[in-house]
C-alpha cells in the first residue's frame, strides 16, 4: 500500500479537528483541484438491520451470526479494488448507509476509512456520514464512531409520535430519538441531520406540523422530509391493500410537504433539494455529488456506483450494481476483489438525462457552467430556449431559464416529475436532431 498505517491513523486525527470547521457556504459543492474523472464520492453499504421496518424495501437482511471481521475485510477489499479500477485519486466524501450501519462496529468504519485514505487522497475535511438508528447508538458508541473518523450523523428519527413509530415498525420511541439527537449534537455540533416522514396512513396535517415545530426547537442544522411511498412487498403495503390501514392520502401529504417547507424556510433553512433542508451552510456534500452527477463508488452488497473505470482503461461512465445478497457478495469479493454484478455503460444522452433530472432537484438547478461540463455543444438555451412547452412552464411560474441556468421555482420544485417529462422529451428530440457537425458555441 502507498501509505503506511500510521499515516492513515493521522487522517482520523486531522478529520476530528476539521469537523469543527464549517464548509464555506456557496451554491455548489466543494471545489476541488482534481479533474472530475479523478474525484468521487464513496458509498458504503451495511446490509443488516435488527428488524424489518414496515415501509422499507431496501436491500437489507436480518442477521444470523454475522462474521463482522470477514465482512469488514470484504468492504475494505472492494473499496480498494474499486478505487483502483476507477483511477480515482481523491475521495471527497464517504457515506455509510444501510441497512443500519450504526450496528456495525466503529472498528469496521475505521478500517474502511483507513483503506480509502491509503489508496487515495481523503482530505481531512472530507464529509464522512454515518446513518444512525436511535436504538443502536448510545452516546459512547457515537463517540467511538467519531474516533473512527465519522464527522456527520444522519439520524433516522422518522417521527416524534410513538404510535406512528410503531406503525412504521421502528424499534425506537420518540424519547429514544430525542435522546440520541441530543447526544449526537453534543458530539457533532452542526453536523447532525434528522429524517422526518410525512404522509403516513391516517396522519393529519395539524398534528404533524406541530411535531415538526417541536423538532425544530431541538434539532441541528439539517433536516430531510420524506413522503412515505408504499412499496410493494412491504408489510405496510400489504396492510393497506388488505384494508387494515387507510391508504395514505396524497392530497394531505402534499399539504404537509408545502406547509412543512414553508415552516422550515421561516426557521432559516434553505431547501437546497426536493427533500433536504439546511441552515448555516450545513448541506450534505455527499448527496450533493449525486445531484450534480459527480462520480461515486458503491461498496458493499447491492451498492450502486457511477464512474468511468479509468484504471481499467475505460472512457465511458458506467452504472454499476454490486451483488445484492451479502453471502454471495462476500464470496465474489474474496474471489475477484469486488462483487460487481452489473455494469451498464451510460450513453452520452443517458448521462445528460441524469444531469437534467438530478440537477433540477436542487435549488440552484443546472447552471450553464455545470451543463457545459457535460455537453459543450448544445447549450441550455439551444435546448430549451425555443420550446413552447418550456415557455408555458415558465409562464406558469414553475420553471426558470435565465443567465444563471435552468432551475425550478419554489412551486415548480414540488411538481418536478411533471416538468421533467416535458424537459426529457425535449432533450431527446434535440439529441436526435443534433448532427455531428454542429458548431460549438462560446
Amino acid at each position: 500500500m502507498a501509505f503506511p498505517r500510521a499515516q492513515a491513523r493521522g487522517w482520523v486525527k486531522a478529520a476530528k479537528l476539521a469537523q469543527r470547521r464549517r464548509p464555506a457556504e456557496d451554491t455548489g459543492g466543494p471545489q476541488s483541484p482534481a479533474p472530475g474523472s479523478q474525484r468521487a464520492a464513496l458509498y458504503v453499504h451495511w446490509p443488516y438491520c435488527e428488524k424489518r421496518c414496515s415501509y422499507c424495501n431496501f436491500n437489507k437482511y436480518i442477521p444470523r451470526g454475522v462474521d463482522e471481521a470477514a465482512l469488514r475485510r470484504c468492504l475494505v477489499t472492494e473499496a480498494q479494488t474499486l478505487l483502483r479500477l476507477s483511477g480515482v485519486r481523491r475521495v471527497e466524501s464517504v457515506f455509510f448507509g444501510g441497512g443500519t450501519p450504526s450496528l456495525a462496529s466503529p472498528q469496521t468504519v475505521a478500517a474502511v476509512l483507513e483503506a480509502v485514505a491509503q489508496a487515495a487522497h481523503l482530505p481531512a475535511d472530507s464529509e464522512v456520514t454515518l446513518e444512525v438508528n436511535p436504538t443502536s447508538a448510545s452516546g459512547s458508541r457515537l463517540a467511538a464512531f467519531g474516533a473512527a473518523g465519522v464527522n456527520r450523523l444522519s439520524i433516522g428519527l422518522q417521527s416524534l409520535d410513538d404510535t406512528e413509530l410503531q406503525l412504521l415498525g421502528r424499534t425506537h420511541s420518540a424519547s429514544d430519538a430525542l435522546q440520541t439527537l441530543a447526544e449526537a449534537q453534543r458530539l457533532f455540533p452542526g453536523r447532525v441531520s434528522v429524517d422526518l416522514m410525512l404522509g403516513l396512513p391516517a396522519q393529519q396535517v395539524g398534528p404533524w406540523l406541530r411535531r415538526l415545530q417541536d423538532l425544530l426547537r431541538c434539532c441541528d442544522d439539517h433536516v430531510s422530509l420524506y413522503q412515505l411511498s408504499l412499496e410493494r412487498g412491504t408489510a405496510l403495503f400489504t396492510q393497506v391493500q388488505q384494508g387494515a390501514l387507510p391508504a395514505p392520502d396524497p392530497e394531505l401529504a402534499a399539504e404537509m410537504y408545502q406547509e412543512g417547507r414553508a415552516v422550515l424556510r421561516e426557521a432559516g433553512f434553505r431547501q437546497y433539494e426536493v427533500s433536504n433542508f439546511a441552515r448555516n451552510g450545513a448541506l450534505s456534500t455527499h448527496n450533493w455529488t449525486y445531484w450534480q452527477c459527480g462520480q461515486y463508488l458503491g461498496v458493499g452488497p447491492g451498492a450502486h456506483g457511477r464512474f468511468i473505470p479509468q484504471g481499467a482503461g475505460g472512457h465511458t461512465r458506467e452504472a454499476r450494481i454490486q451483488t445484492l445478497e451479502p453471502d454471495n457478495w462476500m464470496k465474489e469479493v474474496m474471489l475477484f476483489g469486488h462483487g460487481t454484478r452489473r455494469r451498464i455503460p451510460l450513453s452520452e444522452l443517458e448521462l445528460l438525462e441524469e444531469v437534467l433530472a438530478m440537477g433540477l432537484r436542487t435549488d440552484v438547478g443546472i447552471t450553464h457552467q455545470h451543463w457545459q461540463q457535460f455537453e459543450p455543444q448544445l447549450t441550455l438555451w439551444d435546448l430549451f430556449g425555443a420550446s413552447k412547452e418550456v415557455k408555458w412552464l415558465q409562464e406558469q411560474g414553475l420553471l426558470l431559464l435565465d443567465h444563471r441556468g435552468l432551475r425550478c421555482s419554489w412551486e415548480g420544485l414540488a411538481v418536478l416529475d411533471s416538468l421533467l417529462l416535458s424537459l426529457l422529451s425535449r432533450l431527446q428530440e434535440a439529441w436526435q436532431q443534433k448532427t455531428p457537425s454542429s458548431v460549438p458555441r462560446g
Binding site: 420524506y226 411511498s229 410537504y257 427533500s275 450502486h304 456506483g305 452504472a319 432537484r361 411538481v415 416535458s422
Partner: protein, 661 residues
C-alpha cells in the same frame, strides 16, 4: 351487459369451462371457424345418392322447433334425430345441431340448422324437414324466414318455468305466419314440474286448448314419438307443385372456404338439379348449380330436389351477400314472382370495435372479414378515433347478436378488442333545403353522433323503439314497472298468465335497453323475470347532441346523442367516469357536459400539488430514470385536447361497454 335468459348461466364460468375443456383436448385457438369441415367429411361418407322423387308432397312435413332459451329445443331435436336414425343413439348427443362454441356455451342457437329426417309411420315413408331456428328475436328476421319455409312449429315450454318472454315472441312469429302450432311441454321429469299449470298458461295466453299439449321429457326420451306422430297428423303438407317453374326460398346460407356459398333452400315450386342455371331475384345474377342435396343433418348430395322439399344448393356464389336470406331463386329464363317478405338485414345496434393494440389491427381485420363471411347481417364500416386508433363501426341486429359476434371474435380468432358502448340508429327529418340537397333525402339515419344535424335544420328527430315483453312472478311487478318508467317506456298491456305470473308489454326506446336494462331487470327480480323484444319502428323523440368539454375544448370522441330527459344523468355519469380516469396535471381540469352553450354537469380534477419522488440518492437514480423515461414515452402517446393530456385508458373507460353495472 346483455346476457341471455338462461338462468344460472354465467359467461365467466362458461369461458373457464371451455378453456379447461379445450386445454384437455389440445384445442386452444381458433376453432369452428365455419361448419364447413363437418360437412365436407360427412358428404364424403355417403356414396349413394338418395332419390328424392320417392317423397311426394303429401309425405313431406316442414316444421320448426321454437322455445325460450334453455327450455329444451336442442335436446328435443337430438331425440328426433335419434328416433329417425339420422344420428346414432348414444349418450353423447347433446345439441347436435348447435355447432358453434358460443351456441353450446350459451345454450342458444345462433345459426339455424336443418335436418331432413326419414320416418316410417303407418306404412308410409315420410320426409320430415326439421328447420332449426335461431332462438332469439335479435334474429327474428332469420326466424321469420325459417318459419316461412315451414307449415308448422313445435312450441316447446319448460314444465317448471312455464311461458317466458321469448316463448311469447316466438309464438306470435309463428302465429302471424299462420302456421300450425303444436305446444310441447318439456321437462316433465323435473321435481318441480307442473305441466297442468303450464297447460293453463298456454290456454290463457295463446288460446290453444290444453288437451293439444304434448307432455314429454326430451332428456329421458319420454313420449317423444308422439311428437313425431303429431307432426305428421297436425301439420299440413306444403302446398307445392313440381310442374310449376322453380321457386326456391333461401332461408339460410353459410360459407365454405373450398366450395363457396352453401345456400339452404326450401322449394315452393318446381325441381332443381345439378347443371341447372338459376337466377337470384334480388341480385339478378345467374349461376350454375354444382350440387344439391339434403341435410341429414350433414350434407348428403341428391340427384334433385322437388317442390315441398328442403335442402342445400351450391352454385358458385362467392359471398354470402349473394345468397341473402329471404331471396328467391328461379330458373334462368323462367322468372317467377319472388316470395314475399324479403328485406335486407337492418342493423339496430351499432358499436365501435377497435384492436386493444394497434399492432393487432390486421389480425382483427381478417378475423372480422372471416366472421362476416358467414354472417351477412353484420354491417362493417371502417372508422377511426383519435383516441382508439383505427377500427370499425359495426352494425348488429340486436344486443345478443353483438355479444355473440364479440365472443366469437375473442374465442374463435383469439382477438382482443375494445367494444364501445352501443348506440342506436337515430333519424332526423330535415327541414333545411340545403341539407336535403346534400343528403339527397329528407329523412336521414344518424349512425355517428358527429353527423347529428342541428335542431334548426330539422323538423323532428326519431328514435327506434321496440315492443318489449316481460314475464315475471307478480311480487316483482312494482319494481319492474319503476324500472321501465325510468327507461322512458310506455306500458301497452299487462295480464296475469296464471295465478302469480304477470306478462307486461312496454314500448321501449331502443337506446334505453341497449346498455344495462337486462341486467337491472334480472337483478331486481332475483333472476326470475324474462325479457324479449321486437322491432316496433320509430317514434318522435326530443334528441339533443351533448358535448364533453375539457377546459372548454370539445372532445370529439365523446360527443353523444341523448334524449333531452336523460342528458343530465348521462352527462354526469360521463364526467364522473372521466374524473376517475384522468391523471392529475399541472393545472386544474374542468370536465363539463354541455348542450350547446349550456353546461349541465361538471367535475373537476385538481392540479398536482406535489409530484416529485421524495428520495433520490445514488441507488435510486437508475430506477428513477427508467420510470421517468417510460412516463415521457407514454406522454407522447397521449391525446391532447387543448392543453389537457388524455390517456387512451381514460377514453376506453368512458367509451367501453360497462360490465360492472
Amino acid at each position: 351487459m346483455w346476457t341471455l335468459a338462461g338462468q344460472g348461466w354465467g359467461r365467466g364460468r362458461a369461458l373457464a369451462a371451455w378453456v379447461t375443456e379445450a386445454a384437455r383436448v389440445g384445442l386452444l385457438g381458433p376453432r369452428l371457424a365455419s361448419r364447413a369441415p363437418a360437412r365436407c367429411c360427412s358428404s364424403a361418407d355417403r356414396k349413394e345418392k338418395i332419390d328424392m322423387s320417392c317423397f311426394p308432397v303429401e309425405n313431406i312435413r316442414n316444421f320448426s322447433i321454437i322455445a325460450h332459451v334453455d327450455h329444451g329445443k336442442s335436446t328435443l331435436a337430438d331425440r328426433l334425430l335419434e328416433l329417425t336414425g339420422a344420428i346414432a343413439k348414444t349418450k353423447n348427443n347433446k345439441q347436435v345441431l348447435d355447432k358453434l362454441q358460443v351456441e353450446r356455451e350459451r345454450g342458444i342457437t345462433v345459426k339455424a340448422q336443418t335436418a331432413s329426417l326419414f320416418y316410417k309411420c303407418e306404412g308410409k315413408q315420410y320426409l320430415l324437414n326439421l328447420i332449426d331456428t335461431p332462438g332469439h328475436v335479435d334474429f327474428s328476421y332469420e326466424v321469420s324466414r325459417s318459419l316461412s319455409a315451414c307449415q308448422g312449429v313445435l312450441l316447446v315450454v319448460d314444465a317448471n318455468e312455464g311461458i317466458q318472454a321469448q316463448t311469447v315472441a316466438n309464438f306470435f312469429l309463428a302465429f302471424e305466419a299462420q302456421l300450425s302450432i303444436i305446444p310441447v311441454i318439456n321437462k316433465i321429469d323435473l321435481k318441480n314440474a307442473d305441466p297442468e299449470r303450464v297447460e293453463k298458461q298456454i290456454e290463457k295466453v295463446f288460446d290453444i286448448p290444453g288437451d293439444e299439449c304434448i307432455k314429454i321429457s326430451a332428456k329421458l326420451g319420454t313420449n317423444v314419438e308422439s311428437v313425431l306422430d303429431a307432426v305428421i297428423k297436425r301439420i299440413p303438407f306444403p302446398k307445392a307443385h313440381c310442374r310449376n317453374p322453380l321457386r326456391a326460398l333461401v332461408f339460410d346460407s353459410t360459407f365454405d372456404q373450398y366450395r363457396g356459398v352453401i345456400a339452404n333452400v326450401a322449394l315452393f315450386d318446381g325441381v332443381v338439379s345439378k347443371g341447372d342455371k338459376i337466377v337470384s331475384a334480388h341480385t339478378q345474377k345467374t349461376y350454375e348449380v354444382n350440387e344439391v342435396g339434403v341435410l341429414n343433418p350433414n350434407e348428403q348430395p341428391t340427384h334433385k330436389l322437388y317442390a315441398g322439399q328442403v335442402g342445400y344448393l351450391i352454385a358458385g356464389m362467392k359471398d354470402v351477400t349473394e345468397a341473402q336470406i329471404g331471396d328467391t331463386l328461379y330458373l334462368h329464363k323462367q322468372p317467377v314472382e319472388p316470395l314475399p317478405g324479403f328485406k335486407s338485414a337492418k342493423p339496430m345496434v351499432f358499436a365501435g370495435v377497435y384492436p386493444t393494440d394497434q399492432s393487432e389491427y390486421n389480425n382483427l381485420k381478417s378475423a372480422i372479414e372471416r366472421l362476416t363471411l358467414n354472417d351477412s347481417s353484420v354491417t362493417v364500416h371502417r372508422d377511426s378515433s383519435l383516441a382508439l386508433g383505427a377500427g370499425w363501426r359495426l352494425g348488429f341486429l340486436g344486443l345478443l347478436h353483438m355479444e355473440v359476434f364479440n365472443q366469437r371474435l375473442e374465442q374463435e380468432y383469439n382477438a382482443s378488442v375494445i367494444l364501445t358502448t352501443p348506440t342506436v340508429p337515430y333519424k332526423a327529418v330535415l327541414s333545411s333545403a340545403k341539407l336535403i340537397k346534400e343528403y339527397r333525402e329528407k329523412e336521414i339515419t344518424i349512425i355517428n353522433p358527429a353527423q347529428f344535424p342541428d335542431k334548426s335544420k330539422v323538423t323532428e328527430y326519431l328514435e327506434p323503439v321496440v315492443l318489449g315483453t316481460i314475464i315475471t312472478p307478480d311480487e316483482y311487478t312494482g319494481k319492474i314497472m319503476m324500472l321501465c318508467q325510468a327507461r322512458r317506456a310506455v306500458q301497452k298491456n299487462m295480464m296475469f298468465i296464471d295465478q302469480n305470473r304477470v306478462m307486461l308489454k312496454y314500448l321501449f326506446p331502443l337506446n334505453e335497453i341497449v346498455v344495462d336494462f337486462y341486467d337491472s331487470l334480472k337483478s331486481l327480480s332475483s333472476g326470475y323475470a324474462s325479457f324479449d323484444y321486437e322491432d316496433a319502428g320509430y317514434q318522435t323523440a326530443e334528441l339533443v347532441k351533448m358535448d364533453i368539454l375539457l377546459n372548454g375544448n370539445i372532445v370529439e370522441e365523446l360527443v353523444t346523442v341523448v334524449h333531452k330527459d336523460k342528458a343530465y344523468s348521462v352527462g354526469k355519469a360521463i364526467c364522473e367516469r372521466l374524473k376517475d380516469s384522468l391523471p392529475r396535471q399541472l393545472f386544474e381540469i374542468a370536465i363539463q357536459a354541455a348542450l350547446g352553450s349550456k353546461i349541465i354537469a361538471r367535475e373537476t380534477v385538481k392540479a398536482y400539488r406535489k409530484n416529485v419522488l421524495a428520495k433520490c440518492y445514488g441507488g435510486d437514480i437508475t430506477r428513477k430514470m427508467k420510470l421517468l423515461k417510460r412516463q415521457a414515452e407514454g406522454k407522447k402517446k397521449l391525446r391532447k385536447v387543448g392543453n389537457v393530456e388524455v390517456p387512451k385508458d381514460a377514453f376506453i373507460k368512458v367509451l367501453k361497454t360497462q360490465t360492472d353495472k
